[in-house]
Amino acid sequence: MPIKFVVLWSDALIYVLFAAISLFIFWARRKYHLRNSWKQVFSKPLAMISIVFLVVYSGIAFLDSIHFQPKTEKFAIESVLDQILAPLNTFYEVTYSKPFALHSYAKDIMTLSDGSVVRDYPKLSYSDLGQISIEERRAHMIDRTLNGAQYGAAAWIILSLLIFSYLSYRWKTNIFISLKKIFCHETELPWLAFFITLGIVLISMTVSWNLSQEFHIFGTDKVGQDVFYEAVKSIRTGLIIGTLTTLLMLPFAIFLGIAAGYFGGKIDDFIQYVYTTLSSIPGVLLIAAAVLSLQIFIANHSQWFETLTQRADDRLLALCAILGITSWTALCRILRGETLKLREMDYIQAARALGVGKLRIISRHILPNVMHIVLIGVVLDFSSLVLAEAVLSYVGVGVDPTTLSWGNMINAARLELAREPLVWWPLLAAFIFMFILVLFANVFSDAVRDGFDPRIRKL
């Protein structure tokens, strides 16, 4: 039986997004002014570092977006990432266990092989290490780490060599001069920072993967699911909320903002009224109201959704749409103001005098001149949206409880804070994964703003 691929709605949108970004890169490379601005963005080492992290995160999310039906079960849907992380995707312990633990967190009554009954910490069933001491476990961990680091280093060297040979081909210099250029910071872009970050990221990825094959590196949660697996799977949810929300709201914001600014009069009044009304409702409350209604709607129309995965996926998209509705107003207002300004510029007056049609003026003269605002708005929104997901899931109006997300992880772990001893590992995992994404998104968006905002840009 051939593998049957399944395309969820969010998968399709992610493919569209990746295609759009690739097209944009291809197109922007050939435009002198855009290339210049991007060069300025990436001339900062911090921006170069953050793009490596962001690309890796997007790559993981992309692998998690290629779904198919496994041969064994009919209703389950798996992604390529699940296959890579297997057997973590289907493996469950009984309950909590600490990171790298060999035994469960809670004592349980067990019957030994000789028939006697004891109350002790049950052994975890994940690793087949048998009864080993702490020292032996450490030896195992070091072994796994070194082994994984080898893979990572190999991948790093191959990738670096490929990129390096491409670079020296582009610079038309021989290998030694290229090496000297990179190490002495004489390149236009900070390639040294790029290569170092790439190495660190690749090695830490392979090491954690290799360790995760034998240990629960971030422990397990209440139902015994591996926390590392949850945190990795949450990357897709976070990225979807951060990107698809803007993707969904962008057409409205651009179209309405430019229309209001360019046409003025009644159209302007109406559009202004719409966004004033929407923005005067406090964001969280509007989202809460919308999601509550949505929940009831889904519950009453459960026959529309074939599988649980599909329902969770549709709910995720609906959440993106709701977040988009509440967040397009700010961008729309800025675009309207900018269009008002542009409309009176000489070159647009000239175009109008020459008889260029309205739509053509908008698409050829106004749209390209507001795109930098759109770009800055999109990258600035991204990190706040990822953070918003956590808060909304806490409030109870976030993603579906069955969807793996950092917000759901924090929410579940919060209830366990009163436990003694403390269950801290789900929080730590969610914190690390979320912090890396949001931090580098923030750094990157700063660089983009500095590169594209004409008020800041130095020519």
Partner: protein
């Protein structure tokens, strides 16, 4: 000025009507009252009679916009839209789906919210401005760069972690203050202090960085160069000239959120168990009490619009060049 204010208030009316229509269509058109009744009663073993009883009990047994069975004005007023939405305009919030009087709850729960929100605002402003002015003083040095990086790091941590970390560190490990709860009067102090600290730290990163750009913009202006040219010390320049002028955008930016302070903070209040309007709203959301959510949405919009008008007024107060026409 008076004519301007009047016009602004008149303009607020269609906006509020729009808000009402949006919430009404969210709550009543997407889901029929029958659906809501089922959601409240639980989905299993609900018969139509129980649904009807629930609808009569909470006043949902009316048509949406037009009631042909009644006479005269009642054709309009005896409908869900009039009863549940239009009445909000007179701040008659009615009773919640749980049965309590919403207006009374709001007046009771307003004070704990304010007791947390006002210290956060004032203390936060003080800390943020101090931090921003320090970064401005050391501008273009590694200290400034480190400060900005610190701000970005603070911004990148979800607010939930500040709360959890604060509760664990100060409340549980050091045992300085109770983890959650509230008490009236002066004994509220020990309950309020932890949320205030957490709130201030949570808001520090973004605001300090924003204020720093305002200060830097101000520092590069001509009058500052003149002041330096006169031979004033850097400290005097910063505090006498830059701070004063930079306070204009900072304060006018804050005015818009002042009325919203009543609403409290959703997450902070519910984590720390403060019986304010924020936790009221969160409880309502989690219990799916639509009457309360509707009331809070309306109240929030009114307060936001008041904040906008106050912002305009504050511009004329601090900057005599601005005239409201």
């Amino acid at each position: 000025m008076f004519a301007y204010l009047l016009r602004r208030i008149l303009y607020a009316i269609p906006v509020l009507i729009g808000v009402n229509l949006i919430t009404f269509s969210l709550f009543f058109m997407l889901n029929s009252p029958d659906d809501m009744a089922r959601a409240h009663l639980g989905y299993k073993n609900v018969n139509q009679a129980a649904v009807e009883r629930w609808k009569i009990e909470y006043g949902y047994n009316k048509p949406l916009f037009y009631n042909p069975k009644d006479d005269g004005i009642q054709k309009i007023t005896d409908t869900l839209f009039f009863q549940k939405s239009v009445k909000l305009f007179s701040f008659d919030f009615g009773s919640s789906d749980g049965g309590s009087d919403i207006s009374y709850d709001i007046t009771q729960r307003m004070w704990p919210s304010l007791a947390v929100a006002i210290p956060i605002l004032l203390l936060g402003l003080l800390v943020e401005i101090t931090f921003a002015i320090l970064m401005t003083f050391f501008r273009a040095t590694y200290l400034d760069f480190g400060g900005v990086l610190f701000c970005i790091i603070l911004m990148s941590i979800s607010g939930l972690f500040y709360i959890i970390g604060g509760q664990y560190l100060i409340g549980k490990l050091l045992n300085l203050v109770p983890i959650s709860g509230y008490d009236g009067g002066f004994s509220a102090f020990k309950f309020v202090i932890l949320p205030v600290v957490v709130g201030v730290i949570g808001g520090l990163g973004g605001s300090a960085r924003w204020y720093r750009t305002i200060f830097l913009e101000e520092v590069s202006k001509d009058y500052v160069r003149t002041a330096r040219g006169k031979g004033l010390s850097e400290i005097k320049v910063l505090f006498k000239h830059v701070l004063k002028n930079a306070m204009v955008p900072i304060l006018t930016g804050i005015v818009v959120i002042i009325p919203m302070l009543f609403m409290g903070s959703l997450v902070l209040e519910s984590f720390f168990g403060i019986p304010g309007l924020g936790s009221y709203t969160i409880d309502a959301i989690q219990q799916q009490d639509f009457a309360i959510v509707r009331a809070m949405v309306f109240l929030g919009s009114v307060l936001y619009i008041i904040g906008l008008v106050l912002t305009d007024i504050s511009y004329t107060l601090v900057d005599p060049r601005v005239r409201l026409e």
